[in-house]
């Protein structure tokens, strides 16, 4: 082995390392525009609001907004309403979505894909349009009331909208696909032979469902529930329109603080608290549904 040959080996090693570095840099470059966009539209404004929330009306650093949130009972009510609406919406989505996802997962793949289009159809329509559609159906002179009275089912128009009930109807409709999609994905992944094995070992279909299928579908249920719950927490359009001012969720309150009271500090503080709660829920859900790949890499 000569010194010249050693040197040549070293040169190759350096060149190969550089090639690898260039390749990685090239790949990272592909993500750069998206990262930049997120930084400009998300991190900077949220950081700005975060800062604002710690300034009082005169611009001096203070915890005034947070203190008021604790002291003022109406804030507590808003948060409670937000959680209640989100919780009930999630619950109804589970009750409607689980059987639907189960049905879809048992269909042959082609038929399931067709049905999936029906589930996803709402995604292709604007949120605003769908919410207005519910107004058309549910209002005092709406389709349901006028038909119900014509058919003699009830005589006075029912109060179907501009209340909690109307808000829930609209939110469940909009959130249902977010429940069905992760559930369906998880259920599709459950090996049909597991249920056959349970049956061959003596388990009735109902017992097999509860001891085998349901436990294995839990990660999807956790993921879907977390998704729906978190989206509900920050929901604005539907409660604003179908709630008729009677349902005040955190996002409505934020809008009020800015549009009516021009109080950016108070709105920011609400936003920060909502963001923190949302993150906590997501972390909990990620723990529960570990390994499903729905919240980043599983194992």
């Amino acid at each position: 082995m000569t010194a010249a040959a050693d040197l040549a080996d070293d040169l190759h090693a350096a060149a190969l390392r550089r090639d690898q570095w260039l390749e990685r840099a090239g790949l990272a470059g592909l993500a750069a525009p998206a990262l930049l966009l997120v930084a400009v539209t998300m991190i900077v404004p949220v950081g700005w609001l975060f800062g604002l929330s710690f300034l009082d009306d005169a611009g001096a650093p203070s915890l005034e907004h947070y203190r008021r949130m604790l002291a003022e009972p109406s804030y507590g009510r808003t948060f409670r309403t937000t959680f209640e609406i989100s919780f009930v919406t999630t619950l109804i989505c589970i009750l409607l979505g689980y059987p639907l996802a189960y049905f879809l997962s048992q269909l042959p793949r082609r038929a399931a894909n067709l049905c999936m289009i029906a589930v996803l159809l709402p995604f292709w329509t604007s949120l605003l349009v769908r919410t207005y559609a519910w107004l058309v159906l549910l209002q005092r002179s709406g389709l349901i009331n006028s038909w119900g009275i014509k058919l003699g089912l009830w005589s006075e128009p029912l109060q179907l909208v501009h209340n909690v009930g109307g808000t829930l109807i609209g939110m469940v409709h909009i959130m249902l696909p977010f429940m069905v999609l992760p559930l369906y994905g998880t259920m599709r992944g459950i090996d049909g032979n597991l249920l056959r094995a349970a049956a061959s070992l003596g388990s009735t279909p109902v017992h097999g469902f509860w001891t085998v299928f349901f436990p294995l579908s839990l990660p999807g249920l956790a993921a879907g529930s977390a998704l729906v719950f978190v989206l509900c927490l920050g929901f604005y359009v539907t409660p604003a329109m179908l709630g008729g001012g009677k349902v005040t969720m955190v996002s409505n309150r934020i809008a009020n603080d800015i549009e009516l009271f021009f109080n950016w500090g108070a709105a920011s503080a609400l936003g920060v608290v909502l963001l923190a709660i949302t993150l906590v829920v997501l972390v909990l859900a990620a723990r529960l549904s570990r390994g499903t790949g729905l919240f980043g890499a599983g194992h």
Partner: protein, 379 residues
Amino acid sequence: MRGADDQSRPRDAAVAAAASETALPITIRRLSKAYGAVPVLNEIDLDVRPGEFLTLLGPSGSGKTTLLMAIAGFLRPDSGSIRFGEREVVRLAPHRREIGMVFQNYALFPHMDVARNVGFPLRLRRVPANEIARRVEAALEMFQLGGFGGRGIDQLSGGQRQRVALARAIVFEPRIILMDEPLSALDKQLRERMQIELRQLHERLGTTTVYVTHDQREALTMSDRIAILDKGRIARIDTPRAIYDEPGSRFVAEFIGESSFLDAEILDGECRAAGSIVRARHMPASAGPCTLALRPERLRLLGPGEGEEMNVFEARVTGAIYQGDTLLLQAVLGDGSPITLRQTTRSGEVAMPAIGAPVRIGIAIADTVLLAGDAEGAP
């Protein structure tokens, strides 16, 4: 291997006697299932004897898995009857059939540990907890998995998973065991070891077993009898030896083992193939075209002067491949038909013949198989 009576597999007489009392026969009559216009099971008649290890063998799409699923109750046939012993089960739900089933991909419950998997059928049968623990451990011991009860399924190797699946299928002492290609996911070495283990397990338990595979060697290794399925019908059912030695049809001869097929013709009670007169153990009764099926390992390279009481072919070597345990020799006969010969390699015994060299190839008359119909497979 050859020369021994293949009915006398080593089996403890007392165990076998005990088994035959509890083992159930399966009687299948005119079982049919069609998907649209395509029949998957075509009026199947099958008798599985009590305590027998019967293998359903066939190419994919032959209906072997469909038949097994019908026996298990996971597939509703269009018509026909399935009886376990005296009991008609064709309409019985799977969970009431009391069968132990082993699946191709193990089908172990991933959210339960090994002990809970194996104990699953016992918990369903409301066996007291301490007895469940005892029987689970005993079943695990049986498969060299003692002390594995607390392990998660994802901590096990493929072979261990297969053993857990077996333990789970037998722990509740079912009177019928069904297995759907249970070894196909294992590597070759492990598969061959498990074949022997399964065979020994069956000898110990004596439970009526129906086994599905597409691997003819596996079927030969394990079975008391093999049922060969073709297009939803049973093409042949017999002992491994009978099927290998007397395939009876081109389809069976092609499917089980290797063969070289030669066109032959019967005229005036004599059979001619590739220019030679050929004698076989069984001659087809009718004159006309027929097929000569020659197993590569039954053919021999003949030295000068050898070949008395044998069928002898003159051939020219086209290829010789050394495969370690065997030497694979390819040759063509005078009429151009290819023929394959396999010879065990003992040092110094076989010289590699040169390509193009003329050789004489012989086969004992008892090993020569004549099949009715021409070599294209038409009857």
